[in-house]
């Protein structure tokens, strides 16, 4: 494995703020890690510096990484582990432990169904299975064309207006099957009909 040397608390890179594409590392090293020397990496590096490359800020760093890249892929985890000098196994362990971190790229649109007690009691389960049937997507997965992902979350804290479904970042309160299906369809903006085959007990 290629050993990178990170100079801590020094002004080695990013010394001039005006350079957007500052040469962070040798491009070859980055390519071997599967990362491009682009804006996203620069952002991440800036945040790492702000956190002083501290291992104790790992959760914050992973949050930021997910915000920048959309999900945590293996290459970027490797990069983070090198930067904060923690074993990759530790970083990977933390990333997989917390359900908020996604290790797979999610679809273009994300549906998040709240599975809190209040929403469950009010029948969110029916809405979820309706979405699954209509758009041919399994909970925790994406459609084959990568347009739509369906996730389950444990309570978004808007229990009084349950059942709640999040379509991207918009909360649909007091949701019913019809409203949700219609809203998702209009979000997708396509007339494509998803066809599924059903079979009992197979």
């Amino acid at each position: 494995m290629i050993k990178l040397t990170f100079k801590k608390k020094s002004e080695s890179f990013l010394s001039s703020q005006s350079m957007v594409y500052a040469p962070l590392k040798k491009p070859k090293v980055l390519i071997s890690m599967g990362l491009k020397n682009d804006k996203r990496l620069l952002k991440l590096e800036r945040f790492l510096k702000k956190m002083e490359y501290k291992g104790s800020a790992l959760l914050e760093i992973l949050h930021k990484t997910q915000e920048i890249y959309g999900y945590l892929n293996e290459d970027v985890l490797k990069y983070v582990s090198e930067a904060i000098e923690l074993p990759l196994s530790h970083v990977y362990g933390v990333a997989t432990f917390y359900s908020y971190f996604k290790l797979k790229q999610s679809g273009e649109h994300v549906i998040t169904a709240c599975m809190g007690t209040a929403c469950y009691v009010k029948g969110v389960e029916k809405i979820i299975s309706a979405i699954e049937k209509r758009f041919c997507v399994k909970r925790g997965g994406s459609t084959a064309d990568g347009k739509l992902s369906l996730f389950i979350t444990r309570c978004i804290g808007a229990c009084a207006i349950g059942p709640t479904i999040l379509i991207d970042d918009n909360v649909v309160g007091n949701a019913t099957k019809d409203i949700v299906l219609e809203r998702i369809a209009s979000t997708l903006e396509s007339e494509k009909i998803y066809t599924c085959r059903y079979s009992k007990n197979s």
């Binding site: 917390y98 908020y100 809190g116 007690t117 009691v121 444990r154 309570c155 804290g157 229990c159």
Partner: protein, 555 residues
């Protein structure tokens, strides 16, 4: 240019200026912009009101402000017109116009749009939520004008750290996180320790599904939390606090971040707080969706940037907490109580509630109930009053089946037990726990075994996997419950479930495992008939079980 350093006396000045500023207005329109009302269009409504008062030319006598949760979440979006506390429900832009013209311009409250709030507010005792729905969480001046930070000033000028702890001891305040450990005792352990640094963690990791009391509190009154942290820091000699919040709460994160920043600007946080020798910093830490992180040793691991896995105690966090240093971990609601106790005295506080459980408790009231929302009641109030008076009963005249109190590790209480009072001991005797304050009501449309399975399901997925009883045992319980639901249960299963549950709660490492079987134990205790009906007769009163599931195949 030198930045002005604020000192103690400035708090008084800020308060006076703000009070004068607010007095200039005859009316104040408070638009509830909490997580419950925003999805229903509260932010648009705020803009509408701002536009309307300009159009109607009343901008000089009417102030429009965004506030935290009013509490009547079912009637959202909610708008409160002060003075007088007129609560308007389900406000739309059209109704907004009517309210501005009739109420503000003509001075006649629109009766047809008012929310029936008599019983809802009468039975409550809003202490911690005193500012919720009344002040703008983004403006520190608003908080200071209501007497905020005066408790801190009182501590810094007139009380020694020991006196602060004594005051809390007199008040009898107990941790609101669920276990009910006396706060003063926790503090004095750490205060006695001479090592430094010491830390405080405010626990806002409200992972229980169906509970939103702490979150709403932090969104409505963030400075009460910060003031509580400051006083705690002063009392125990800590200089650093972390607020550990869930990443799923974007609004709370935003409000807290801005509140911390604003406090730093006013020199309330940072070096030499308000010109005294106290140094205090608050940092926000985000969780990442792990229910177990609410456990105190797990929260420490998470703040340190590790997997949130509990460890055996002792050593307790008070002696070996964050990075091995003495640490106090306190629930947000407990901390929000502290400024009140200092301001009004411990004796005043100890008279509220029951002698053993003083004070009030916030609950989020949800599920099949007519009037869900955020409430605060004195300790010792019967559960029935909460559900039927404040919550106004079950919709569609259905029958209440059970009240689930304390989240997934709480218990399911049947109708006959609703007269038991809400305090730590009474709830424990009936098999439930206080938890972080959630009451979910279910009616006869829900199957009790399905509900128990839902909770066990949750705990299985949230179990960290460190100790075997929790990791394997809960999975076994889930399998048995699934078998019963599918109609393949055996008669022996009831006894097996009860044995297994007791075993898990006795041998698990942390609170999660110890309390996770509670839903099964309480349903076995109070709803045994339903279990037997499922087993002997393949009969489900709610008609939910014994259905063969369609299996979806993607192609």
């Amino acid at each position: 240019m030198r930045v002005k350093k604020f000192i103690l006396a400035d708090i008084q000045k800020i308060a006076e200026t703000e009070v004068d500023f607010q007095r200039a207005y005859k009316y104040r329109i408070n638009v509830c912009c909490s997580s419950g009302c925003i999805p229903l269009g509260a932010l648009n409504l705020l803009k509408t009101f701002e536009k309307l008062i300009k159009e109607q030319d009343v901008a000089e006598e009417c102030l429009v402000a965004r506030t935290g949760c009013v509490g009547t979440c079912s009637a959202g979006p909610v708008v409160v017109v002060e003075s007088g506390g007129y609560i308007y429900q389900n406000v739309t832009p059209e109704k907004a116009k009517k309210i501005v013209i009739d109420h503000i311009v003509l001075g006649l409250p629109v009766k047809s749009l008012l929310y029936e709030s008599k019983v809802f507010l009468k039975k409550q005792h809003r202490l911690v939520l005193r500012n919720a729905g009344k002040i703008d969480p983004y403006r520190i001046e608003d908080y200071i004008a209501t007497g905020g930070y005066s408790a801190l000033v009182k501590c810094l000028t007139r009380k020694s750290p020991q006196e602060v702890i004594d005051e809390i001891r007199i008040s009898g305040l107990r941790g609101r996180g669920g276990a009910g450990f006396p706060t003063a005792r926790k503090w004095s352990f750490v205060a006695r320790d001479h090592r430094s640094p010491k830390y405080i963690i405010a626990n806002l990791d409200e992972g229980d599904p169906g509970v939103f009391a702490n979150r709403t509190l932090a969104e409505a009154d963030p400075h009460a939390l910060i003031e509580g942290l400051l006083i705690a820091g002063y009392a125990i000699g800590a200089e650093k606090a972390f607020i550990y919040t869930r990443a799923e709460y974007p609004l709370a994160i935003d409000i807290l971040e801005k509140a911390i920043k604003k406090s730093e600007e006013l020199n309330i946080l940072g070096k030499n707080v308000l010109g005294t020798t106290l140094n205090f910093d608050v940092e926000l830490r985000l969780g990442a969706g792990a229910f177990v992180a609410g456990e105190e040793t797990a929260i420490i691991a998470s703040v340190e940037g590790r997997r949130a896995m509990p460890r055996p105690r002792p050593p307790y966090p008070a002696t070996s907490g964050l990075w091995g240093k003495p640490t106090v971990i306190q629930n947000v609601e407990t901390l929000a109580n502290i400024p009140l106790i200092i301001q009004n005295g411990g004796t005043w506080f100890s008279k509220i509630g029951t002698p053993k459980c003083t004070g009030t408790k916030c609950f989020s009231l949800t599920g099949k109930i007519n009037n869900p929302g955020l409430i605060e009641v004195p300790m010792g109030i019967p559960l029935r009053e909460v559900i039927f008076d404040i919550g106004r009963g079950i919709p569609d005249n259905r029958k209440l089946k059970a009240a689930l109190i304390g989240g997934p590790s709480g218990g399911c209480l049947p109708d006959i037990l609703l007269d038991s009072s809400i305090d730590y001991e009474s709830l424990e005797t009936v098999g439930a726990i206080m938890g972080s304050g959630g009451i979910v009501v279910i009616d006869d449309q829900s199957c009790i075994i399905d509900t128990a399975k839902f909770f066990i399901d949750f705990c299985v997925s949230e179990s960290c996997g460190k100790c075997t009883p929790c990791r394997v045992g809960l999975l076994k319980i889930k399998e048995i419950l699934e078998k019963i639901i599918q109609g393949n249960g055996r008669i022996e299963d009831v006894e097996l479930l009860s044995k297994l549950s007791t075993f898990i709660s006795e041998t698990s490492l942390c609170g999660l495992g110890q309390t996770a079987p509670n839903p099964v134990l309480t349903t076995l205790r109070y709803f045994k008939k339903e279990y037997l009906e499922h087993l002997y007769e393949n009969f489900c009163t709610a008609n939910k079980c014994f259905k063969k599931k369609e299996i979806l195949r993607i192609g």
